[in-house]
């Protein structure tokens, strides 16, 4: 029998879809009976989704700095191209 700690240790692998067969079945069985682990695994999934979304572009200031640097790169590139 898997303990709750075992489930917590495997939460990443489970949410990443990396478990199969007997492993996955045992975990599904535990989750069906254990509210604590179901909630924990859901928390881990929510954490990951939020972490993924947190990389969305930040403040307008960052955009401006990005634009400025992009212009620099492109003008350097054009200079080099015209030299050839």
């Amino acid at each position: 029998m898997l303990s709750c700690k075992d489930i917590a240790d495997r939460a990443s692998a489970l949410n990443d879809g990396e478990l199969s067969g007997w492993d996955a079945l045992q975990i599904r069985l535990h989750l069906a009976m254990c509210k604590g682990c179901s909630r924990f695994v859901a928390q881990m999934r929510a954490t990951d989704q939020l972490a993924a979304r947190a990389s969305d572009p930040g403040e307008p200031l960052e955009h401006e700095a990005d634009d400025r640097r992009l212009t620099e790169i492109l003008s350097t590139l054009r200079k080099e191209q015209s030299r050839h």
Binding site: S3, C4, K5, D9, S12, R39, L50, A54
Partner: protein, 199 residues
């Protein structure tokens, strides 16, 4: 997947032909993640931005020799890591990702039988816009990611935010598969714990 591969092939061809619009799109998509990645290796945000700028120049200069053995983004991140490591070494910093980080923060969560001492809470409304303690959850998450040990932060950026395959994350960071998975799991546990305190 096939559509993505075709799109990537097309994108690489356009870049090789010097298409500025395609480069602009690539830059917009990856610039901030690259800065965050560089910041896990060099000592300041300003240095990270410089290293990323050098990376983009190198990408444009060398795109003609890119053979597509990794994804385009994987190739760009690999160039970045090499440049950042060179820079960090010059600044006298150690640059290895091969550290496990501290032990996970769940060690006290279970009783002697491996059962939860306290039942985890039911979370609802985990949206980036939700305001908690004066900030949006996305902002809390950004701060929590910035506070992770460098190796854990690097794995979160590449695996969770950039959605690279595990094998590509390992190749870019020079990690074994086992170590990468440990870092990823610990990082997620740590971020979860930060949210749990807020919610």
């Amino acid at each position: 997947m096939l559509a993505n591969q075709l799109q990537e092939k097309h994108c690489i061809q356009r870049l090789k032909a010097g298409d500025e619009a395609v480069f602009r799109a690539l830059y917009t998509r990856h610039n901030q993640p690259l800065i965050r990645m560089a910041a896990t290796i060099v000592n300041s945000r300003a240095t990270a931005e410089e290293v990323v700028q050098e990376t983009w120049m190198a990408v444009l200069k060398n795109i003609g020799t890119f053979e597509g053995r990794s994804s385009l983004a994987g190739w760009i991140f690999t160039i970045l890591i090499n440049k950042a490591r060179t820079r960090a070494r010059r600044d006298g910093r150690s640059v290895s990702f091969d550290e496990g980080g501290e032990d996970d923060n769940l060690s006290t969560a279970f009783d002697g039988h491996g059962r939860w001492k306290a039942m985890p809470e039911l979370w609802d409304e985990i949206t980036p816009e939700r305001i908690v303690a004066g900030r949006g959850l996305a902002e809390h998450m950004r701060m929590a990611i910035d506070a992770l040990p460098p190796a854990q932060r690097a794995v979160i950026v590449l695996r969770v935010q950039q959605e690279f395959e595990p094998s590509e994350v390992c190749a870019i960071l020079g990690l074994s598969d086992g170590n990468m998975r440990i870092l990823l799991h610990r990082a997620r546990l740590s971020l979860r714990a930060t949210l749990a305190k807020l919610l």
